[in-house]
Symmetry: C2
Subunit: 330 residues, 2 copies
Amino acid sequence: MHKPSLIAAGVLLSANAWAAAPANEPIQPIQPAKIENPAKVELGKQLFFDPRLSKSGSISCNSCHNLSMGGSDNLPTSIGHNWQKGPINSPTVLNAGYNVKQFWDGRAADLKAQAGGPIANPVEMASSHQLAVDVLSSIPQYRESFKQIYKTDQITIDAVTDAIAEFEKTLVTPNSRFDRWLQGDEQALTQTEQAGYQLFKSAGCVACHNGPAVGGGMFMKMGLVQPYQTSNPAKGVAGVTGKDSDLNVFKVPTLRNVELTYPYFHDGAYWKLEEAVDVMARVQLGRQLQEQEIGQIAAFLRTLTGEQPSFKLPTLPPSSAQTAKPQPFN
Amino acid sequence: MHKPSLIAAGVLLSANAWAAAPANEPIQPIQPAKIENPAKVELGKQLFFDPRLSKSGSISCNSCHNLSMGGSDNLPTSIGHNWQKGPINSPTVLNAGYNVKQFWDGRAADLKAQAGGPIANPVEMASSHQLAVDVLSSIPQYRESFKQIYKTDQITIDAVTDAIAEFEKTLVTPNSRFDRWLQGDEQALTQTEQAGYQLFKSAGCVACHNGPAVGGGMFMKMGLVQPYQTSNPAKGVAGVTGKDSDLNVFKVPTLRNVELTYPYFHDGAYWKLEEAVDVMARVQLGRQLQEQEIGQIAAFLRTLTGEQPSFKLPTLPPSSAQTAKPQPFN
């Protein structure tokens, strides 16, 4: 029930030691963003917030990955073009750079590949890559930004998604209470929260939810021990590979900021963190947790809420007379 | 063609004189926001960005008054709950505190009265005042904020709209090039832009579009000299008073940031500023402007773009187990 501690070992903590994570913990701290190309990040931020990437002119990346709300929309499934109901819960964009692949079924290799999907998905933003590029190319300030960053007069969907991904890579949430504890601040967690973490490990949750993002590193069958009951028809990785063995296999979601990213699971069926813990223990581990245990694990999970992205709301460059008009109602 | 100048009168400009607007111009500079209650402004900002004020959990004030886009949504009419088409163009929230009344038909006395409208409007956010208050009351961090600011444990719609209005009052756009020119910087405008301003006055535009907001101070019939052709059924003030004499009478909109707030007029029928100038001159003044004149006035109007609101994207407090769930699809 206690974390191996440098202090306990009689070693004085240097500044470096304080910042370093214990090598023997299955969860590592989130690292602050390293911004190498601020201009590209700023352009990506504008694009992330720009609803002109959608056919209607009203849906932006931020609509479903709302950075005021844990990088999610806090809906079971999202609302797309023409109020269409999305097929699956929108995962948080926070710390998504840690994901081994993107989307619940892993069909995109990385953030850049992911970013192009919703733009052209008819039930999401319902635009096309060509239309999105044409719209951006008609806006003088965007032309100038792309030219400065990508050294070309031609805006491409490749550059658009590259810039969005560069911004998304900065959407990390360091300095959670748990990370401060990992880094040696023993006061950062209560006894209950520490007990929850020990239980999270001993019960087996950590087998899938590990690494800096406490998930995102692997795929796993939803309903490994007991079938998971859902009305959501998503097939998981099987929808990509066509293999029966991939049925109901989904990416293990990050648990960072999980207190903010309700409702839970790919179907968004559970709103309470305690319920989600209970279901997970039963269907993945075949274990019925006691109420106290559930409370301890949930208490631990709430310590994973890190510093939320902090930046100025971007001002978007105005359209020009050449910009294709949004088409919300036809 | 030139502005009366203190320099021309041989008076040395003091810092004060530089900041003061010429008393004899019909347009005055936008004043920077004076924030007297930062906590209330911050709460209002959170509420402005919080989609939980809508039934679906997806529409916030910022959806239609997007502060990344000139405080508007750049759509002819907005998209409401269940993708319903709004009846009238969403006016910009920027500098809206200068409006003599709110809404195109003036049916709300002030920003506070306005803020309650869309929340409960079934074609907009489709919630109710009771539901909105219940949702906010279920969120511990909101309860704490309201308690600190309003000294009560009971959140009311009155306090909700008061806080939103307090934030909106800060959404002013000072230091436009035109305001710098008004304040004595003769280099701030080109000759074309200055010619456009003189024409804006001599042609009669300024009769309605005057004051700090270059509009917002009065109501006027749309189609004063020639009928305005539109398929939009809005009746203007007559919809409020029932008087035939108020038919097609609308609030004169602000022209501040007009370059950002396309499409134009209560029906959002015109996307190009030059077209809007041309139509206005014909239907309001009975005057057919030459292309060069239209270009000059449009050039002047583009100098009215001020500093856009600059603040950090708010982080919203998470819902609790008691929070009513959003209902996007029923």
